[in-house]
Each structure stands twice: as C-alpha cells, then as structure tokens.
C-alpha cells in the first residue's frame, strides 16, 4: 500500500493525465454512454415501429425482415420509371456506402417499388444492380405494399396516365434507416448529402 502511495506521489503528473483521459473517454461515449452526440440525420428512434415486411425480392423469392437481421437496412420507396428523384437518392446512398469501404458490405438498401405493374423482379434486378452490390429490389402485392407503407406512414399514389400510358407515382422521398436489430433509427431527406449519411452509417455500424 505504501509502495502504491509513493508511486502515485512520485508520478502525480502521469496520474492526472490518466484520470483526465478517463473522463474524456467517458464523456465522448467511447463506451456507448448515455451522453451521446446528436446524429446528423433525423433521429426517429422510438417513433417508428421495427422493420417488418413480407415482399417479393428481385430474385423472385418471398422474403421478410428476418432475412436481414444482423444487417443495418436502408428502406426506400420508389419506382423505376422515376428518372430523377429515385436514382438521385440511390446514387447518393451509393456514394455514402462507397465512402465506408469494406464495412459497407454489411449494409443492405431495400428499394421497394410501389409500382408492381411495371416493376417486375427482372426490371428491379437490373435497376438496383446499376447502383451497386448493396442494393436489393423488392415489390409486392397491393396488400403487402399498403401494409408496409402504412406501417411507416408513407403515402404513395399513382398519377393519371398520359396519352402513351406513362404515369408518375407520388411517393415519399425519405430513406428509413434500421439498425442491425431492425430497430428504426434514422430518416434521411433529399437534402442530406452523402458524407453526412456516411458519417451516421459508420456510427451505426460501430454499435
């Protein structure tokens, strides 16, 4: 005991530095402390239900949220005949994921088409492949889509077809982000830049 006390008094400077470091580590949340930095994206923890769906994947398989447990999931509703906002959002997500490096492979982006009449699994597969390996196309029956969109309070509506039968689809522009356990955590908007999204995804992956 005396030896310890004499060590401490002889190395007072070192002890102070160590104590200081301990305080800093606690505050900055290196141990997932409750005092945490705010997220860049909108924090929806506790405000949206956990991930739950039954949909047809772009390989023709029926899948549920259980197939994605253990992976952070980004959920986005759109349609492939949308040449502007949908690909812009997906391209931004691709840029964010590329910034993450190899850990991005743990993430899945589920692009859920609310236009199943035009978006067959084959169309969805070639569409999502164009953005990167992390993208998965999905769609479902009207009932499956209504169940899912209602769950996340997402509205969508098919526009009036023009003379050639082309129609636009009104849809939510937000991306829902779920953690590895399927808990709803963050929401992006169109104005969120890829590096901002990447920063939050990195943090979510480190949990």
């Amino acid at each position: 005991m005396n030896r310890v006390l004499s060590f401490l008094s002889r190395n007072r400077g070192l002890v102070l530095v160590c104590a200081g470091l301990l305080v800093i580590l606690t505050i900055t949340g290196c141990g997932h402390s409750s005092i945490s930095q705010p997220w860049n994206l909108l924090n929806i923890t506790g405000h949206m239900p956990p991930l739950q769906f039954t949909l047809m994947r772009d390989d023709g398989q029926t899948v549920t949220q259980k197939d994605y447990l253990g992976k952070p999931v980004l959920l986005y509703f759109g349609y492939t005949n949308c040449p502007d906002v949908c690909p812009t959002t997906l391209a931004d997500l691709a840029t964010a994921l590329r910034q993450l490096g190899p850990v991005a492979d743990q993430v899945r982006v589920l692009f859920v088409s609310v236009d199943p009449a035009r978006d067959t699994p084959a169309v969805l597969k070639s569409y999502t492949n164009a953005f990167g390996p992390w993208f998965v196309g999905m769609t479902g029956s009207q009932e499956q889509l209504v169940t899912l969109t209602k769950r996340y309070r997402v509205a969508y509506r098919l526009g009036k077809p023009d003379a050639k039968g082309e129609y636009a689809v009104y849809h939510s522009s937000a991306v829902f982000i779920f953690d590895r356990q399927g808990k709803a955590r963050l929401l992006t908007s169109l104005s969120d830049k890829p590096d901002v999204i990447a920063t939050d995804l990195k943090r979510l992956l480190a949990e």
Binding site: C82, S173, A174
Partner: protein
C-alpha cells in the same frame, strides 16, 4: 474580289453563332437499364440579351423528350410535366437532380457511359440550340 465575296458570305453565315449567345454547360444523362426513361441535366445560360422561352426538346436518339420538374413537398416527390420555361436575359436555367430536368423516353439504340447524345432545345422565338449530353452511369459517375 472573289475571296472578298467569300469572306463576306462566311461572315454573314457565322453571325448567328456569335451574336447573342446561348450556352449549355455540364450537360449529362443518367443511364438506367433497359428501356427506362432517362433524366438529362445541364445549365442553360441566356446571354442573348433578351428573354428566351424554352418550349421543348428533342433528340435523334430518343422518341420523345419532355421538360419536367420534380417538386418535393411535405416529403412527397411529385413530377410535373412543364410546357415552357422562361429564361430572363443574363440568367441561367439549371436542370439539376431534384429540380427541372429533361425526361427522355424510348432510346432508339442501346447507350453506354461516355457516349455523347445530341439534344435539341427549342425556343418560342423559333430558334433552336443543339447541345451534346454525355452519358454517365446510374450513380452519375
């Protein structure tokens, strides 16, 4: 004498190209697979000294080109078909992701990244301008 005449003739023919210019910069198309419609983006600057009204566009590579505008309101994305866009003298019309854009339907031949596609912009005063749009991948790379 003959050369003088030729020079005069050339000057007359070249005049429209120099008098009051319209410039198009950063023009590109986002390539999507299959027959999906594509979006075109560019910055169109009106330095002609008078107001211009863009009333349409076309391309030999597509059956139809339309002027569109994405409007995100209350978190909902809505795409509007636009008939005409006015560009005041000295102003730039930005066709950008999430805003005004060209929508190009039914490509006539398969397209690849790096290719150049001519797009003709038509104005209400009868003038038109051909811009070269470069094809980029889905992610804009």
């Amino acid at each position: 004498m003959r050369i003088k005449y030729l020079v005069l003739l050339l000057t007359v023919f070249c005049l429209p190209a120099f008098a009051g210019t319209l410039s198009v910069t950063g023009a590109w198309l986002r390539l999507l697979p299959g027959d999906l419609p594509l979006a075109g983006y560019a910055h169109v600057t009106n330095n002609t000294g008078h107001t211009l009204t863009l009333t349409g566009a076309s391309s030999p590579e597509f059956s139809d080109v339309q002027l569109h505008r994405s409007v995100v309101h209350d978190g909902m994305d809505n795409m509007l078909h636009i008939e005409a866009i006015t560009i005041a003298a000295g102003k730039t019309l930005d066709f950008i992701p999430g805003g005004y854009h060209l929508m190009l339907f039914d490509r006539k031949h398969p397209l690849g990244a790096g290719q150049h596609v001519p797009v003709i912009l038509r104005f209400s005063d009868g003038t038109q301008y051909t811009a070269e749009f470069v094809v980029k991948g889905a992610t804009g790379q």
